[in-house]
């Protein structure tokens, strides 16, 4: 990987906003093979490998070093990084794709408003049911870290493939950790956010992989991108 390997989300609003941000910095992206293609090219950065991927794949690539840089969600970076924030460098928060990662429980649980209430409910639940309370989420690491830091241990994680907010209604889990922007979906599903249950205020970010192999060519392209997007990245460029 000698040339800069750069990725943006392949679909939806995140894609449009990412393209708009790069274009405004002077680096327009064009897709190869029309709207449905997953290959693209970017102007103004020299020879760059421009890729369109899912936000989760981009976060994974940045963490494991198979991508140099890209636009993805902070929530995904924090969740996929095995050792936390040293596995990636957020160089710019982009002001779109905002969402909170939160802990929510059924509104009917009038005895549970905080994380320590949840721990008490979890302990009582284990005594009554001989199993742990289930927490459904796509954010396995983020959840585990947050719960441990809040001294909540009486739970089991269930990996959710989608529609996490429906888990308490269907009975596959009682508690969820999910993203929300307005909280409307949660309310519609009979859920409430715990008062101290905000795990992360996330938004779309431009991030760089400290673990990738950086050639001088890749660094030069990144430097051009930094200059165009008015990012102060001198220290980072020296580090990688």
């Amino acid at each position: 990987m000698t040339r800069l390997s750069l990725a943006i989300p392949s679909k939806g609003r995140l894609k449009e906003k990412s393209e708009a941000w790069l274009a405004s910095a002077g680096f327009p992206v064009t897709q190869i093979g029309g709207e449905r293609g997953y290959q693209a090219q970017i102007e103004g950065l020299g020879d760059v490998e421009m890729r369109l991927l899912s936000a989760r794949e981009i976060a994974q690539g940045l963490v494991d070093g198979s991508l140099h840089a890209g636009v993805t969600g902070e929530d995904l970076l924090h969740d996929l990084a095995p050792t936390g924030e040293s596995d990636f460098d957020v160089v710019k928060r982009l002001g779109f794709g905002g969402a909170d990662v939160i802990v929510a429980v059924p509104q009917a649980w009038v005895d549970v408003d905080t994380m320590s209430d949840l721990e008490a409910a979890g302990a009582a639940f284990r005594k009554a049911h001989h199993r742990r309370l289930r927490v459904a989420t796509k954010y396995m690491r983020l959840t585990r870290r947050f719960f441990a830091a809040r001294s909540v241990g009486e739970y089991r994680l269930v990996e959710s493939a989608g529609a996490t907010e429906a888990a308490p209604t269907t009975g596959s889990a009682d508690v969820i950790v999910d993203i929300t922007s307005t909280g409307a979906t949660l309310k519609a599903n009979g859920l409430k956010i715990l008062s101290d249950g905000l795990i992360l205020k996330s938004e779309a970010v431009f991030a760089v992989s400290p673990g990738a192999v950086w050639s001088s060519e890749a660094k030069a392209s990144l430097e051009v991108l930094f200059a165009g997007a008015a990012i102060k990245g001198k220290e980072l460029l020296e580090k990688i």
Binding site: A120, A123, A124, R144, A148, R156, T169
Partner: protein
């Protein structure tokens, strides 16, 4: 000494104590460690999915599957004390760079003997002698006793729900700080009838009426009586006014205990006297008696043995005395030997069908070699 010689030296010591050699299952359902210890242990577990989609784990230590063997034996109707030993591989995701994912533990587990200072000291001595047989002189030994914190909490006479919360929070990464600083929220007015109802039936009716009034659907697997019990517990904690200042002081004083093992009982005793917590005396006496016995058996450890009240609080199934032996050339997170008491594990593994006191210890031959300045 070669690696094989180190394994043989430790193993011979444990076999000579009368323990029966075993090599239990390598693969366990992930429910065993996760239901037992919670999700916090998942970060270190080697997890995989079998062909039917069930989540399985490679054994993270030998204590868990050996205790499983013992639980099966007892549930099958056989009684009496039993001791097992092993030299076998365990699997954990690395906590620090350079830690191996697969490593050998040479150890023993003893079940059904008296849970007393004599047995604690004997198990400790057995591990120490095995380390000596491997040709290493320990540089430090860290000890603790996970029965101390619960003993102090019980002596404080808190409402049950608060005491239980504190005991569990003590064993979590975040500790008890957030809990002792929290101020309980008041109970909403529309829930007061639920709390004041004379019977559970009336309480359920009042609760359902309050939910209907708020337009809240009843979802989730917690039953109405469970939610009402939770509400009552919260009201009780509220009535008690949160965590009193005295409790905060006691917890702070306990957390500060970090001394030589010989001084530990005196320091704990001073806290008990200052705050009139005489119910802690049997737990403190046990710390004192255990250390006396250890000094009689092994006079040389006195100078290097320390006691810290929070030591081992995150070692999931231990519930009493525990220790870690540190050798030269290695970090504090890489003990060459360790051990401890886990009287509640057999009961936990068998869902209460079997019960046995238990203590065990292991030597890590790979680290022994590193302590001796050989191997990487």
């Amino acid at each position: 000494m070669t690696y094989a010689a180190v394994v043989k030296a430790a193993r011979s010591r444990f076999e000579a104590s009368g323990a029966k050699p075993v090599n239990p299952a390598y693969i366990l359902p992930s429910d065993i460690p996760l239901e037992l210890s919670g999700e916090a242990v998942r970060a270190r577990l080697c997890v995989f999915t079998d062909h039917r989609g069930n989540e399985m784990v490679m054994r993270p230590d030998l204590t868990l599957p050996v205790a499983g063997l013992e639980a099966d034996r007892l549930a099958g109707g056989t009684n009496g004390p039993k001791a097992y030993c092993y030299a076998a591989e365990a699997f954990r995701l690395p906590a620090a760079a350079g830690d191996p994912m697969e490593f050998t533990q040479v150890g023993f587990e003893r079940f059904g003997r008296d849970s007393d200072p004599v047995e604690d000291a004997e198990a400790f001595a057995l591990v120490h002698e095995a380390v000596r047989d491997c040709g290493v002189v320990p540089v430090a030994i860290a000890t603790g006793d996970l029965a101390i914190f619960p003993a102090f909490i019980d002596a404080l006479g808190l409402p049950r729900v608060t005491a239980d919360l504190l005991k569990r929070a003590f064993r979590q990464e975040g500790g008890v700080r957030a809990l002792v600083e929290a101020s309980p929220a008041p109970i909403e007015a529309d829930l007061v009838p639920t709390l004041e109802a004379a019977t559970l039936e009336e309480a359920e009716t009042a609760f359902r009426a309050a939910l209907a009034e708020r337009g809240i659907p009843l979802i989730g697997t917690r039953s109405v009586p469970e939610i009402i019990a939770g509400l009552r517990a919260r009201a009780a904690a509220l009535a008690a006014g949160g965590v009193p200042e005295k409790v905060r002081e006691v917890i702070g004083a306990l957390a500060a205990v970090n001394c030589t093992a010989a001084e530990a009982a005196d320091q704990l005793d001073a806290i008990a006297v200052k705050y009139s917590l005489s119910r802690t005396s049997s737990a403190i006496d046990r710390v004192a008696r255990r250390m006396e016995l250890i000094r009689e058996l092994l006079p040389e450890v006195k100078a290097i043995c320390r006691f810290r009240s929070g030591f081992g609080r995150r070692f999931t199934y231990y519930d009493g005395f525990l220790f870690e032996t540190l050798g030269p050339n290695l970090s504090e997170r890489q003990p060459i030997a360790s051990g401890g008491r886990y009287d509640g594990l057999v009961s936990g593994l068998s869902n209460g069908k079997a019960n046995a006191t238990a203590i065990g210890g292991v030597v890590r031959p790979d680290r022994v070699l590193r302590a001796k300045g050989r191997g990487a």
